[in-house]
Amino acid sequence: MTDQAIAGRRLQARDNKLSDEMFITALVAGAAIVLFLLASMLVPNFFQFQNVVNLVTNNWSVIALGVGVTFLLVSGNFDLSVGGIVALSGVMAVWFAQASDGTNPLSTGWGLPAWLAMMGALLCAVMIGALNALFVVVLRVPSIIVTLGTMMLARGIAQVVTQGSQRNTNLPSDFGALGNMTMFGTSIKLPVVLMAALILIAVFVERKTVFGRLTYLIGANPVASRLSGVDNARHVVNLYLFSSLVAGGVGILLASEFKSGFSNRGTLMEFDALVISLLGGVAIAGGFGSVIGMFFGAIVLATVTSAATGLVLSPDWQFTLKAIAVFIAIMAQTWALARRHSS
């Protein structure tokens, strides 16, 4: 009886602690801080406020993509198509906006106003998302294969439209407005602010809304969630559409920032988005992870890569570093959760 009471109290004590997700997120955040301090000791001039800001602002696009990818991973699905969609939507936005009287094919477009061109490009992006949803949900092809295919499809269309290079001429003057607008009198650009807003909204959706709850339920136990009245299929369709919408937005903002539609833009971005989600503790089996964790995962990766650059390591190090970081993150997560559950 007393034993039981003690056991009960111990359980209660644990129940009052952080949830597993918050625990892992805290670990990742801790790792980010430790790595930053470590880098500050090793790399000259690393320990600066501006550097912290840069870690975020230089990576706004991948962090934004990470939001959609994280939601999908939590529901138990991959999305590797986002990098291709970034290229596609950027190229399409430029193509639609280019004046229709160019001197050669690559400078001739549809002559649409910038805003309409961008909407059109967004539509193209969402169509790729719809294709993902069709193959994964209706035809039940594994998401990894489907989204590898659509990644190539999207990038392939971009390459055809740009004849393998880029479109950057004959654009309306306001095309670059969105991507280069600075905010609040600082050097921070609109895309970074939009990314921050997206993160805040995503955290809210994930923590506070029914939509967020359903995402976790589907990932945790798809059979039980269906029998509990969740429309798994529709939800996963929505997640793919959402992810492609975000990727489309990122592609358009990048195109606007550089005033060009480049068919190789966003190469490997799908990989980086997956990497930061995994670094942030999102579990591939589904039902576990958080957007905040993904955000700190991005900070970890950015710290590591920029410290490597600061240490004058060749940029070739990035692949090896990413591999090691993801490996350590996965092993650390497994180990930490196992310890937590056995103690």
Partner: protein
């Protein structure tokens, strides 16, 4: 084949006992199985048959007692051990590889090779002969995926036989078979017996036992009741009497007259397993569906709930059959599924997170979740259902079976259902929690809402239900009104297949 009086027993079990915390599932059971016989093992659910099978196949370790195969002590630790010890098992779940040929399946794991290369041996001839001896109709070179379930079973039997098993255990092998396939399987079993294999046959279908068995062992409440040649058993009545042995105690209290006010009408429900199922459920009524494993109870529940494909007319509160669980819940139907841990519960989530799932929008305003409300709702249901926990933040996987089931029930109650479908509501639940769950079900029905209980425990339906539908082989065979005068042997007769013969 001359048998001497001193022939070794194929299997002898002595003082076998298995204790679970608080329960003695098998109580000092001793019996012998003669070689080259079909030995049937019968008893109601919970009589201890499957516990014995699990000890024989190495899935469970006996608390005490011994087993011996052909006179040699036998203590398996795994299925593999059991197989090496000469005991093969035909599980209800098939263990064949669909993509390989019959022959490849038969030789799987026994391949003769040198440096990894397969070499010619008599293995293939041997297994082909074994297969041909028990079922010549199966082409050894056919893909297993092209075979029927019955033929796949036969492939598994042949594999067990050719891997040198002296004893093959078959646990409800006919549950998924058609009548013709059952006949064919029986032929196989007889030929096996004639080729020096002993078969331990477990089935609820008493006709099969009389048709096939040489000897029978009857179990009841974990105890051994009798082992004797079937020839000496005086028909189904004697067997049923041995199985029941006592008047089943049930505390059914008639719940007053229930008005003829159907909320659920099912007409001609058909699916891959169901055949023309029709019934009505009135408001305030508790309906029982009783039948053996595989009789179609779960399928009825899932069809009404929109979880499986089915044809037929289902009307609930004037609306047609739900096409998805989501629609069913919206119309006021909630299901407690058969498999609690995999289908009903989110074990990785806390109690608090589990309870509102089936009606999650009730706790949301404009799609935004009301966290504080969730906590108070969870606390309310924890106290209402008497879920034993010190915190609503406890993970569902840490709860006992009974408390897990109460959480699943809480999910359904929170969904504001007018019709509860309960599939095996107290399986794996301890006695205390069981009666609490029964009280909850009665309270629910007393508010004028309807309940369907799908159960393979007779005591459960007799203790709880106002009307009982007896199911056998995908059909509703009979409807009985519960009361003091229920004829239990007759019920057992019907659900074991005696209804068709008109006995």
């Amino acid at each position: 084949m001359v048998q001497t009086a001193l022939a070794e027993k194929a299997l002898s079990i002595k003082d076998l006992t298995k204790d679970y915390p608080g329960v003695r599932a098998v109580d000092t059971v001793s019996f012998d199985i003669e070689p080259n016989t079909v030995h049937c093992l019968v008893g109601e659910n919970g009589a201890g048959k499957s516990t014995i099978v699990k000890m024989l196949t190495g899935a469970l370790e006996p608390t005490s007692g011994t087993m011996a195969v052909l006179g040699k002590p036998y203590q398996p630790n795994s299925t593999q051990d059991a197989r090496n010890g000469g005991i093969g098992t035909l599980f209800q779940e098939l263990h064949v590889v669909d993509q390989l040929t019959v022959l490849e399946n038969l030789t799987m794991g026994m391949e003769v090779s040198r440096f990894g290369f397969l070499i010619k041996s008599d293995l293939e001839d041997r297994v082909t002969k074994t297969l041909a001896a028990i079922e010549p109709g199966i082409d050894p070179n056919a893909r297993v995926s092209s075979l029927s379930v019955a033929q796949k079973q036969i492939v598994e039997i042949a594999r067990a036989a050719s891997s040198g098993a002296n004893i093959i255990i078959m646990d409800e092998p006919t549950a998924a078979l058609s009548e013709r396939e059952v006949e064919r399987l029986f032929g196989v079993i007889r030929r096996l017996r004639d080729s020096d294999v002993t078969v331990i046959y477990i089935s609820h279908k008493l006709d099969e036992i009389f048709e096939l068995g040489d000897n029978v062992t009857v179990m009841r409440d974990g105890k051994h009741i009798a082992t004797k040649p079937l020839a000496q058993v005086n028909g189904r009545p004697e067997l049923i009497e041995m199985m029941v042995g006592r008047s089943i105690t049930h505390d059914y209290r008639p719940r007053g007259d229930i008005a003829d006010n159907p909320v659920l009408t099912v007409k001609g429900l058909n699916s891959h397993l169901l055949k023309d199922v029709s019934f009505q459920v009135n408001a305030g009524e508790i309906i029982g569906f009783y039948g053996l494993v595989g009789a179609g109870k779960t399928e009825v529940a899932r069809a009404i709930y929109g979880a499986d494909k089915a044809h037929g007319q289902v009307t609930f509160k004037g609306r047609p059959r739900a096409r998805s669980p989501k629609e069913a819940i919206a119309s006021g139907i909630a299901l407690v599924p058969e498999e609690r841990r995999t289908e009903g519960l989110f074990t990785a989530l806390t109690i608090r997170r589990n309870i509102p799932i089936m009606n999650i929008n009730k706790l949301a305003k404009f799609g935004i979740f009301q966290d504080d409300q969730e906590k108070s709702v969870a606390k309310e249901y924890v106290s209402k259902l008497g879920i034993a926990t010190n915190s609503v933040e406890k993970y569902a996987e840490k709860l006992s079976g009974g408390n897990q089931q109460k959480v699943v029930l809480a999910k359904c109650l929170f969904a504001d259902a007018d019709l509860l479908l309960l599939d095996e509501p107290t399986r794996g639940v301890d006695v205390g929690a069981k009666s609490e769950i029964y009280d909850l079900i009665r309270d629910f029905a007393n508010t004028g809402r309807a309940v369907c209980v799908f159960s393979s425990e007779l005591e459960e339906v007799l203790g709880l239900c106002d009307r009982i539908f007896l199911m056998y082989d995908g059909r509703v065979e009979a409807e009985i009104r519960n009361g003091a005068t229920v004829d239990i042997p007759k019920i057992l007769n019907i659900v074991t297949g005696g209804g068709k013969a008109g006995t």
